[in-house]
């Protein structure tokens, strides 16, 4: 454990913050720009994982395990979310025969 923490601390904390912010921004842009539901799921995962990495980095720098525990919770929730998302995708595909979210246009004013 000590060596892992030491290895994490070789890289300055700012680098982690900048890297995670970049990952998060890529995820946000992916969700907003892409029309394919699967790619949107992947972008959401990228957002969640950037938060995971940031929490792990903070946790190592502060020698406080709470952040790493949180990462486990996020992983569990992300897995559940993907299971539900793919199930919904299958249901939508059955009725529209496409996974393009522009096909979801039945409800509007």
């Amino acid at each position: 454990m000590e060596t892992t923490v030491a290895q994490i601390q070789v890289i300055p904390l700012q680098y982690y913050i900048i890297f995670c912010s970049a990952l998060f921004s890529i995820g946000v842009i992916g969700v907003l720009a892409k029309r394919n539901a699967l790619v949107i799921f992947m972008s959401v995962e990228l957002m969640l994982n950037s938060a995971n990495l940031l929490l792990a980095a903070f946790s190592a720098y502060r020698n406080d395990p709470a952040g790493q525990i949180f990462v486990f919770f996020i992983m569990v929730v992300a897995a559940a979310e993907v299971a539900i998302g793919l199930a919904l995708l299958v249901v939508v595909y059955r009725s529209t025969k496409t996974i393009d979210i522009n096909a979801l246009n039945r409800l509007k004013w």
């Binding site: 969700v31 957002m47 709470a66 949180f70 919770f73 919904l88 995708l89 939508v92």
Partner: protein, 459 residues
């Protein structure tokens, strides 16, 4: 805490009974289990117990809101047999998911650590995603579920990244420790904390359904099965707003300068967008979605005007919104059963055949619009007074203008019911269950409107 455990056990029993094809005992078990949980919840009054290293705090705030949430869920379950009459299968999955969503909502009102906030929000949201799509072969329901899922998980991403930044700045996810950090660094709040708080606020406004992140709400509310929409519009919204209030008041009340302006803009936009869009809706279900957005804006005022008694005002407002919305949806479900449409024309001449339902709908609409002496007026009045005392006069003026606009669209169904000739439909037969619920709700709306102080001074 023990209320959450009770409801979890009830939900698992329901799921198990469904798996072995027992249909009849499902609802009786829920009707016993939820009142028991309600009483267990109230037993902790005035004790303020902290569970599991401050993960969950059962103080009066959370107990009062939990009571509202459990009671609302009970009312939703009262319509379930009527709404699902044509369905022949046991429906254990839907009942259990509603209960699981309720568990998430109860966790959200009493969290003492941001970890629990996240777990509660996700427990509630994941259940609601499935429930929104529970009409499996209806394309509208599928679409609503997909849209809800995509926007909801996107919002969770924002919430999580914000939590990570707050953790990085404060070194803890415990609300008390964060508050200590904020007080200690009163003059130089790190930029990381400000950005994190902004991201968390964005995530929470998504869940509340407040502008500028409200766009999912009308589509999702319209496409979901009506019973689920009722649950979403009441329990989902109240739990999210209570969680947001708790987060802001217990941790960030000492750095108001960095978030009050943002939230004020959100609230003004929410009130205007909600009320002005509801103006044009012909579909009553969609109109309620926009009305829910507008009410989320009013409830944001309570967060902006944070003071100790604002919690009581928020509680009163939540109760008034919940009871009125649930009554209106009950009548809407009845009308939909008979006419097959959610259009406002379906209400024409309802008063002639069904005076009880028409009266209940009228009371609910007037309460939502804020006409005295109903509880909606008392709630709005106290909320606006609290905000003016804190010096948020422009916000209150916008809120009052929004309220005046809202009278128009709330009166439209009432006019259709009383002053238009009935369409070809005959009287709608309503089972006795419905009548009891409607009377109870109308009674509560009038009585609470006369004695609002009791609720406000409760917490």
């Amino acid at each position: 805490m023990y209320a959450i455990i009770t409801i979890s056990i009830v939900a698992i029993i329901v799921l198990f009974l469904g798996a072995i094809q027992k249909k009849t005992p499902l609802l009786p078990i829920i009707f016993v289990g939820l009142p028991v949980a309600f009483i267990i919840n109230l037993l902790g009054w005035n004790q303020s117990i902290h569970y599991y290293n401050e993960m969950y705090i059962a103080d009066n705030f959370s107990i009062a809101f939990n009571a509202v949430l459990i009671f609302t869920t009970l009312l939703v379950f009262i319509f379930a047999p009527v709404y699902y009459k044509p369905v022949k299968r046991p429906l254990e999955d839907i009942y259990a998911l509603i209960l699981f969503a309720l568990i998430g909502a109860l966790t959200m009102t009493g969290f003492g650590n941001i970890l629990m906030l996240f777990v509660g929000i996700e427990t509630m949201s994941l259940s609601l995603y499935i429930l929104a799509g529970s009409k499996k072969f209806d394309p509208n329901s599928n679409e609503a579920a997909m849209k809800y899922f995509l926007t909801g998980s996107f919002a969770s991403g924002f919430l999580l990244f914000g939590i990570a930044l707050i953790y990085g700045a404060c070194g803890s996810m415990n609300l008390e420790t964060i508050k200590e950090f904020v007080v200690a660094h009163h003059n130089n709040i790190p930029a990381m904390l400000n950005i994190g708080l902004l991201l968390v606020a964005i995530g929470m406004t998504f869940k509340i359904g407040a502008a500028p992140f409200h766009f999912w709400a009308p589509d999702v509310y319209e496409g979901s099965p009506t019973l689920i929409t009722t649950f979403m519009a009441t329990v989902g919204k109240v739990a999210a707003i209570a969680a947001f209030f708790r987060l802001m008041s217990s941790s960030f009340s000492d750095m108001e300068s960095s978030w009050v302006v943002t939230l004020t803009i959100f609230a003004i936009a929410t009130i205007l967008i909600g009320n002005l869009s509801a103006f044009y809706q012909d579909n009553v279900k969609r109109m309620f979605a926009y009305s829910g957005i507008a009410h989320a804006g009013y409830m944001l005022i309570a967060i902006i005007a944070l003071k100790q008694q604002a919690a009581g005002v928020l509680l009163l407002y939540s109760i008034s919104y919940t009871i009125a919305t649930i009554t209106a949806f009950a009548v809407l479900i009845l009308v939909r059963e008979e006419t097959g449409t959610f259009s406002i024309n379906a209400f024409k001449g309802l008063a002639k055949h069904n005076p009880t339902e028409a009266f209940a709908m009228t009371i609910a609409m007037l309460s939502l619009a804020g006409i005295p002496p109903l509880v909606g007026f008392a709630a709005k009045y106290n909320l606006f007074i609290a905000a003016i005392e804190q010096g948020h006069l422009p916000l209150v003026i916008v809120a009052i203008v929004g309220s005046m606009i809202s009278v128009y669209y709330y009166i439209r169904p009432v006019v259709a019911m009383y002053f238009n000739l009935p369409s070809a439909t005959s009287a709608i037969d309503s089972s006795s269950n419905y009548k009891k619920q409607i009377f109870l709700a109308a009674f509560l709306m009038i009585v609470l409107g006369l004695i609002p102080g009791v609720i406000i001074n409760l917490i």
